[in-house]
């Protein structure tokens, strides 16, 4: 199996006044293609920091990060943006859809920055929405949809540019149990089709549904369990 993510001795350090905080403390990690992994741990343990670095939204203070075999340390902001666009699909706790755009336009957004022509964008966005069961909601604005539906739009958006990994930070955090399980079913289905999924959660029953559970505490990986 090909290696998608490789972290070598990653540190993320915040200095505030005279206190030094290691949000990530000597983290080593390998994720192979097709894995379905949950990062768990108490609040403030560094899960989001980890996701931001894995998602190329942030750079580590030190250490090496290989994404799809490429070291991204030397990338400038625009190269990071292009990497996010091409290789990473984000799903956020609070959906982060653009309120003024329709579901279809929201889903098509990454393709705008990938330089895909409009007709193709819209067609692909439509297919992606159909795939998550929202074929009837193409023209709805986010505020006309339920939380579960919004998160499905976000998942369709994350998938649209066919990324190497899906990164989801507490994707079920704002959803009721029923919607949470529906969303997890979609992730599972995606993973069954071969997508690599990394998600942060603090809900044990959600973590249970993945194939690998990573536990963090004070910026360190304290357990890594494959099932």
């Amino acid at each position: 199996m090909a290696e998608v993510i490789r972290l070598e001795d990653i540190m993320k350090t915040y200095v505030m006044g005279d206190t030094i905080l290691h949000a990530l403390n000597h983290v080593h990690l390998e994720v192979t293609n097709g894995e379905f992994m949950a990062i768990m741990g108490p609040s403030g343990s560094g899960k989001s920091t980890m996701m931001n670095i894995l998602g190329c939204l942030d750079r580590p203070t030190s250490g090496k990060y290989y994404l799809d075999g490429k070291e991204i340390a030397g990338y400038d902001d625009d190269e990071l943006a292009q990497t996010r666009n091409a290789k990473i699909g984000f799903v956020f706790q609070n959906f982060n859809l653009l309120p003024k755009l329709t579901a279809q336009a929201n889903v098509a957004l990454p393709l705008v920055y990938a330089g895909v022509p409009e007709d193709e964008r819209m067609e692909r966005a439509k297919q992606a929405l159909v795939a998550v069961g929202l074929g009837e909601r193409l023209d709805h604005k986010p505020n006309e949809m339920s939380g579960g539906q919004r998160q499905r739009v976000a998942i369709a958006r994350a998938l649209i540019n066919n990324p190497a990994i899906i990164m989801a930070d507490e994707p079920t955090g704002n959803l009721d149990t029923k919607s949470s399980y529906e969303i997890m079913d979609i992730f599972k289905a995606m993973n069954n089709e071969g997508k690599t999924v990394v998600m942060v959660t603090h809900e044990p029953d959600i973590g249970e549904q993945t194939k690998r559970i990573l536990v963090m505490r004070d910026g360190q990986l304290v357990s890594d369990e494959r099932r």
């Binding site: 902001d77 943006a81 653009l98 990454p110 920055y113």
Partner: protein
């Protein structure tokens, strides 16, 4: 990406109608003001230009009273007067002078029956009508015979007819000027208002000799109007006239003239310059309001960037680069500039017409002005959009996503 951004900008503007309108208003008023003001300035200029050609840029007017070395005018009447003989001498010796018209004028009450009217009565040789570009509509002009025999005849303008001869048909009737009875022998074609707002039909012309001897009782003339053959000889005619008058008035070399020759072309040049200055001034004041409009764009763009921090974070997370975001906001600022500019042109053109129609001022709308104003407003949109757009493009995606 470009089309996308324009579309998004327009959608954003439609979504925030009131805010868009207020922002646009600054630019609309700015552009409109520039166009209206510059049109007005050009109008003034054109009017001056028309006046030159109407009055003839080849006119010289000689008045008694000279100027000292410092340019102060010496009171007319304190020195030698201009006489009819001065005029005759000029007419005889200056070949390039087409007409020489010595003139006297004085305010009188003119009376017909129980109607009366106060006007300026002008005594002049018959050629005054040619010089002033009047036509005789009814009856005839007075002639040289009237001049030699000093007949009491007059030629009057439409305003006089309207006020003193309500029944019309004044030719042959008698009109009293002051106490002296005059026969109306001609009526002039209407000329309307002059550029200076004077009623050019409120005129009474009588033969110069009659006016001097039988009306006003004077032996001098007030001024001498000279028309040169063409514009090229105006200066040489002026020189000759000055020469003759200095000789006739026995002014020694180095002495100050006791008369002044006014050159209308020179006067018009000065007026043109003034008109240009006015245009510049009006344009600058209007441009300042356009600048204020630009600051309005910057203000609203800054608000927009703050409001849409989260949107920017989302776009960046999804792969928008610095340039993508910069372009998006710059285009928004430019769209405001373009839309404001176009609406401003409409406002400016409309108010130019309004000024012409209701204030009666001449305005000239020039296409270059419109183009410059629109380009300027787009430029202002760009200039004042750059700072907010850069601010947006430089946002850190994590901070932006976390923004509530």
């Amino acid at each position: 990406m470009f089309n996308e951004s324009i579309k998004m900008a327009l959608e954003g503007m439609v979504a925030n109608k009131l805010r868009t309108f207020l922002t646009l208003l600054g630019i609309i008023i700015g552009v409109g003001a520039v166009i209206a003001m510059v049109s007005l300035g050009f109008g003034v200029k054109e009017q001056v230009k028309n006046n030159i050609s109407r009055l003839g840029s080849n006119l010289l007017i000689v008045q008694s009273g000279g100027r000292t070395a410092t340019g102060a005018r010496i009171q007319a009447g304190s020195g030698a007067r201009l006489t009819y003989d001065d005029a005759k001498a000029i007419e005889k010796s200056v070949d390039d002078a087409l007409y020489v018209a010595p003139m006297v004028s004085k305010g009188y009450q003119v009376v017909v029956g129980n109607q009366n009217w106060t006007t300026n009565v002008q005594g002049a040789p018959p050629n005054i009508l040619d010089i002033r570009d009047y036509t005789v509509e009814e009856g005839r002009n007075f002639n040289n015979r009237d001049m030699t025999s000093r007949t009491r005849v007059c030629v009057i303008g439409k305003t006089i007819v309207d006020n003193l001869f309500p029944e019309g048909d004044p030719v042959g009737k008698t009109m009293r000027i002051g106490k002296a009875p005059f026969t109306v022998i001609g009526v002039l074609g209407a000329k309307g208002q002059s550029a200076m707002g004077q009623d050019q039909d409120d005129v009474v012309f009588v033969p110069l000799t009659t006016a001097m001897n039988r009306l006003m009782g004077i032996t001098y003339v007030n001024n001498i109007t000279i028309q040169a053959k063409n514009e090229n000889v105006v200066d040489s005619v002026q020189g000759e006239v000055e020469q003759i008058l200095r000789e006739r008035h026995r002014i020694k070399a180095g002495g100050d003239d006791d008369f002044t020759v006014r050159n209308l072309a020179a006067l018009m040049d000065t007026m043109m310059e003034t008109a240009n200055t006015i245009t510049m001034l009006l344009g600058c004041i209007a441009a300042i309001s356009l600048l204020v409009g630009g600051i309005g764009i910057m203000n609203i763009m800054l608000v927009s960037v703050t409001e849409r921090t989260r949107e920017i974070g989302i776009r960046k997370a999804l792969g928008a680069t610095y340039h993508n975001i910069l372009l998006q906001f710059l285009i928004e600022a430019m769209v405001i500039g373009v839309v404001g500019g176009v609406l401003g042109v409409l406002l400016g053109v409309a108010s130019s017409y309004g000024i012409s129609k209701f204030a009666g001022w001449n305005t000239v709308i020039s296409v270059p002005t419109i183009i410059i104003a629109v380009v300027f407003s787009v430029g202002i949109g760009l200039f004042f959009g750059i700072y907010p757009a850069r601010k947006a493009a430089l946002l850190d995606p994590i901070d932006a996503l976390r923004y509530e």
